[in-house]
Symmetry: C2
Subunit: 312 residues, 2 copies
């Protein structure tokens, strides 16, 4: 197999160092990762200095990360990895004829501790140059089309200055975020901003080095979930990687983003997350002093099998 | 090319997002890296949760890293990447018929600020259970075999408890480290420990997950350099990735490790750094109250071309 001029046994030696107690899935992943990383190094004859520059970038990303920012995730995002993994994970659902709502990446600005608000609330404070929109819709069962009562719709978006509240000392905590519960008819609604495009942070210079723009098309992040005993566990699944047991009444949680059809960056998102089915139209709204625009958006959830587990 | 069932254009889109001002070498590296990472994700159908677990590991590694510890480097080491990159970088020199001294990885415990000591000094303080050894030898020009005067020989080693001084609050700073200058005959010498095997840190659990032991065979780290104007620049090259202009009197700096021929881990080093030519014999030393063992070790340096630059 080896067509290069380096030690032909080296990679096998590293792979075969794994012991018999290695979890089979972990062994498969590490074997493949080691082979790809070694092939990358050999094919490009990567030097010690180039490799060390990569190590420094990854260490820096970790050092920038905390409970409000995930820079390692952002590095993956700009090379398309989160969007690809999202496509892979939810491929089966997408292959269904009448597909449930498509998924999109979580992104690095999710916060697990976002508070609940009441339907009809306004999540916008102190963004005078924003266009206000009334967003509303229903959460329904993908199969039966029945409305889902008590589902959680969690949303977050950036301000018009391009910053999420945790990046911006001038925004109050949890601004432009909220969790809403669907009512007896499966309905949710709230006031938000028409989203605006913004640049992802590029302190690490990776985008500059690739001569790429950092802009994301205007979007609103959404997570919709319905567990029978605890909404908060969803946050744990997504961020802290704790196992969650979904019950017989549960649905597969959905992480997605919706994109404004008028945005100039729809075709060249810096993190490659746009899907056609997630592009939405904001339309004029009449007679509402709180908002000149309106967005109707329904979400279809897929039932989770009884006792299914989200593996880590 | 695409034999998988995912978007066949996705990876090309990510690669082609790089703009025309991207440095050609950086474009080559990123193109290859993106293709390998995407292939890895598709071939294994990596899930969002698995990917996120990887992100958390990499962020954690960065957060553990500081000017005394490089955990990102250690992650690379346990999957063999630093040793492979070392092999690649120095392949040409190794292919020479009468090879200069072979190289080995820097490892995460190098310190740029190690002080100079005098030939004949003892670098060991407070390790009563260690076997003392007198290490001595010459630094010579690989081509002319002439002794090199004023070359710097920098060494570092772990104590018998398996810890380098920066890991161990009970060792004084710079214990078991030192820089020495070769004399008029190209000679260096000092007292050190016969090295002992030790486990690399596994706080990140990567080795446990792979069911692998963490032990490194007993070794002494060595960097040998001869620049005409500043020895300190070497540290900058290796750690801070600053460009260094080597002058007409310069030699290619050598980073290596030497391994005790009696060690039980020679064939299964946890970071895959052992090379046959780097295995050395400690022999009994007579009539020296300071040391019962002796090691004679000569180093052959390769001249650096005039005005050559160590690229970042």
């Amino acid at each position: 197999m080896a067509t290069h001029r380096f030690d032909p046994n080296f990679t096998d030696n590293v792979v075969n160092a794994m012991g018999p107690k290695t979890n089979p899935r972990f062994r498969k992943l590490m074997t493949s990762l080691i082979r790809h990383v070694h092939d990358f190094a050999r094919e490009n004859e990567v030097t010690v200095d180039e490799w060390m520059a990569g190590v420094q970038l990854m260490n820096w990303a970790g050092q920038m990360s905390d409970d409000k920012r995930n820079e390692g995730q952002l590095v993956c995002d700009v090379i398309g990895l989160e969007s690809l993994v999202d496509e892979i994970t939810f491929k089966l659902a997408e292959e269904a004829e009448d597909a449930p709502t498509a998924t999109a990446i979580l992104g690095p600005f999710f916060r697990a501790d976002t508070p609940y608000r009441k339907n009809g609330d306004n999540i916008v404070k102190g963004v005078p140059d924003g266009e206000m929109a009334f967003m509303h819709g229903r959460v329904i069962d993908f199969t039966t089309k029945k409305p889902l009562v008590g589902a959680t719709v969690e949303v977050w978006q950036a301000a018009t200055n391009g910053l999420y509240e945790q990046q911006d000392p001038n925004q109050e905590e949890f601004n432009l975020r909220g969790k809403f519960k669907t009512d007896e008819e499966g309905r949710y609604n709230f006031y938000c901003l028409r989203p605006t495009p913004y640049p992802v942070p590029d302190d690490g210079k990776l985008l500059k080095l690739m001569d790429r723009h950092p802009f994301r098309p205007a979007h609103i992040h959404i997570i919709v979930s319905l567990f029978c005993y605890s909404m908060l566990l969803l946050s744990s699944v997504r961020v802290k990687l704790i196992c969650v047991q979904a019950t017989h009444d549960g649905y597969k949680p959905l992480t997605t983003q919706i994109f404004d059809s008028k945005d100039q960056y729809l075709t060249n998102d810096s993190v490659f997350a746009v899907k056609d089915s997630l592009i939405v139209d904001f339309v004029p709204r009449e007679g509402d002093p709180q908002a000149g625009l309106e967005l109707n958006y329904d979400v279809k959830l897929v039932p989770a099998p009884s006792n299914s587990t989200n593996d880590v």
